[in-house]
Amino acid sequence: MFLDFLFYVFATILLMSAFFALFATNPVINVLFLILAMFYSAGIFILLKAEYLAFSLIIIYVGAVAVLFLFVVMMLNITKKSFKESIQQFKTPLFLFGILLMVELVLLFLKAKNVMHHDELSHLAFESFDSVTNAHAIGQVLYTQYFLGFQLVGLVLFVAIIGAIVLVYEKRTKVKKQNITKQLLRTKKNSLQIVKFAPIVKKEESES
């Protein structure tokens, strides 16, 4: 009963903070409310017995992605005045269609029956991982059946890293830098020149 109460509390705060994250005017406030929404959805994850995902949501999303958002918000010069001046075309129909979609979804999900009939127990069922923790069970599924997907997700992250670096990297021309290849390719042959010449003897000095 207490957990149910907790679910409703988390859901309410999650929806409110998502609303403020999307419709507040100050971008920093938006990102901070997004962080709050992520914390409360992590709470719902814990209620749904997905502890590993809850913690990875906090660590990855709040710790990395949301902080990245904050950095970008602070790096960009966003003026608040543009809100009023920008053209608000199609605002009413978009709002109406969105609300319509929301009402439809809510009615559909409230009326939906027999959604959760799950006759044949799959081998990924909770029961087959009864004695182990959530993270252990996810690992057992992830590293066996979904191993290809796991590898591909690693590839996606790799591509994302390279893409982000390539996009934002700029070569600085004003700074003098050490060119390591050039330095290592220098040999005695192409950099040192030995010139032999006979010693010059000044006759006038010897005479005097």
């Binding site: 999307l22 999303y61 969105g98 999900f109 959530n134 996606v156």
Partner: protein, 103 residues
Amino acid sequence: MKTVTLNHCLVLNGILFTLGLLGALLNKRHLLMVLIAVEVMLLAVNLNMVSFSYFLKDYAGQVFTVFILTVAAAEAAIGLAILMLYFKNHGTIEVSSATTLKG
């Protein structure tokens, strides 16, 4: 949880997803807000996956949530990099300023 059923979770996720959609559509200010709205929508999808996983007693949903989390992180990184480039080139990130292809 006893009285909370799958339908409650689905209603919550539907509302959250539609909020994110509305935020992306109605927003005429920053491209950054569109990215935040996409994050909210991905959060709703993740919640949906996990609630199905819980109520169907199946770990596949949680595994796919792990995948979605990773892809969302990659998407955020690339999106913010593009945003930085856009700001560097145009000096603004207003949605209404992105009209280069308009002709």
